[in-house]
């Protein structure tokens, strides 16, 4: 029996450079950076004082009065992205309330701001009664997925992936698996992250993971550039509607691309460092392509994990060269994180959205701030300017803390 084919029919994205896929795409092609000095708290004592924050997020436009206080920021971002994705897919879930539609969302840190705020209250008051009764349901990592399902009556499986920086990619991969298995027909899949809060930023700083280009925030995230010195933390959410090809045809809706393959693999190596020869990252890409039944030579484009850390960008380049051989030099690569920073648990989902738009529109967004070539990173990273390219097969890499790797394969529908 042939495998069910799964396609993307709706996209919703919320990021530091734009809200909504069209504005997001325009900003990406223009090479716009969303990295600025942190505004949500006083970061003047922090080594890295910059981030991709969503400034002036119009929460009141999306949620009725009072609702905001019952949603973590990660849930708010996910709900807005999911509403955009549903509208984009011309979907009215209330009509089709069913157990054949599920939800899966990736998030690394869930309601981080709620946790920090409530902990601060506890410490300041020394009174446990001053911790809000809704703290736990707001902090819990599965709140965004649950809030989406409750809002739209999605009674299929409701899952949350928390695998650090690969959470969003794993969510989409799992959605693909569920639809292929026949358990569901449609999935709302994505990632959300809102962790620009003092404790988390301090933790990443202590880990020496963040860029310290504080005086030129928009130039801080510089993946594959020789002077890269760490990532810029970002917040955002991306949600995709995945459904069977049959369902999309029946509904007569626009199809962006097919999700052709996925692989999840653990390096079982180190809690934060990648295995630097690239063997493990090459393995996850190879497994994903096998799943998609696509030979390496047919890959046109990779949306890299491309964080702008010294080690990630070198390892990822090594892995691509190891798997693709001479073809590595013919492919195009880019890093969405050069503009929106690293949105952690949302990154894999936002970058899958980028792949879907690239496959649909045949244009590559640039990797900005690429100014100094690194002899060890010598592939085509689409430096600084958008470029047209006839992309048929795209890969999206996501490599997370915890040795946790994911790769998605998407292709234009033939």
């Amino acid at each position: 029996m042939s495998r069910r084919r799964v396609v993307i029919t709706g996209l919703g994205v919320v990021s530091s450079i734009a809200l909504g896929k069209e504005a997001f795409w325009r900003a990406l092609l223009a090479g716009q950076s969303g990295i600025k000095r942190i505004r949500s708290f006083d970061a003047s004592l922090y080594a890295s004082q910059i981030a991709g924050e969503i400034l002036d997020f119009p929460a009141e436009e999306f949620f009725p009065c009072g609702a905001i206080s019952r949603l973590s920021r990660a849930s708010q971002l996910a709900l807005v992205a999911s509403q955009m994705a549903l509208e984009d897919a011309h979907f009215d879930c209330k009509i089709r309330e069913t157990d054949r539609i599920g939800t899966v969302i990736g998030t690394a840190l869930g309601g981080a701001e709620v946790y920090e705020n409530q902990l601060r209250r506890l410490m300041e008051t020394n009174n446990p009664r001053r911790v809000h009764p809704l703290s736990v349901p707001l902090i819990m990592a599965n709140a965004p997925a649950a809030e989406i399902a409750i809002r739209y009556g999605l009674k299929g499986p409701n899952m949350t992936f928390s695998t650090a920086c690969s959470s969003g990619a794993h969510a989409i991969g799992y959605a693909l698996d569920l639809i292929r298995s026949g358990r569901v027909d449609i999935m709302m899949a994505g990632g959300t992250e809102a962790c620009i809060v003092p404790g988390v930023v301090a933790g990443f700083n202590s880990l020496r993971a963040l860029s310290m280009h504080n005086n030129e925030p928009e130039r801080a995230s510089r993946p594959f550039d020789r002077t890269r010195d760490g990532f810029a933390i970002g917040e955002g959410a991306g949600v995709l509607i995945l459904e069977t090809l049959e369902s999309a045809k029946q509904r007569d809706v626009h199809i962006y691309a097919e999700v052709a393959g996925y692989a999840a693999a653990c390096e079982a190596c180190h809690i934060v460092h990648p295995e630097t020869t690239g063997t493990e990252e090459a393995r996850v890409m190879e497994l994903a392509l096998k799943d998609a039944e696509i030979p390496t030579g047919q890959v046109d484009y990779i949306n890299t994990h491309g964080t702008s850390t010294v080690l990630n960008d070198l390892t990822e380049t090594n892995a691509i060269k190891k798997l693709f051989g001479p073809h590595a030099y013919r492919m195009s690569l880019n890093s969405t994180k050069s503009m929106i920073g690293h949105t952690i648990g949302a990154a894999g989902a936002v970058e899958a959205i980028v792949c879907a738009l690239t496959l649909e529109r045949k244009v590559l967004h640039p990797t900005i701030n690429y100014e100094n070539s690194d002899p060890d990173c010598d592939l085509d990273y689409t430096p600084n300017h958008a470029r047209e390219k006839d992309v048929h097969v795209a890969l999206s890499n996501s490599f997370g803390f915890g040795s946790n790797n994911a790769c998605l394969v998407m292709k234009a529908l033939s």
Partner: protein, 88 residues
Amino acid sequence: MMTGESIEARIIAGLAKIKKTKPETIQKQASLIEDLAIDSLDTLDLIFQLEEEFHIEIPEEHQLRFCTVQDVITYVQERVGQTVARSA
């Protein structure tokens, strides 16, 4: 000093926030459960807000007295009055 009216307005505003509605839609005679559909989580939220806002502690047994919006207003007015009287 808090007046009876300001206590009333603040409680109604708090309930409106919990119910995601406008304060003018909340009637003082309304039953919390039957008219406003306040559930157990809403009740916890309400108690938390009242304790926070009026600097009182509401023992669990007192919460059973809250049937209508007016019951809550009366209770808080009494408790805040006691606090003021004690501190006078």
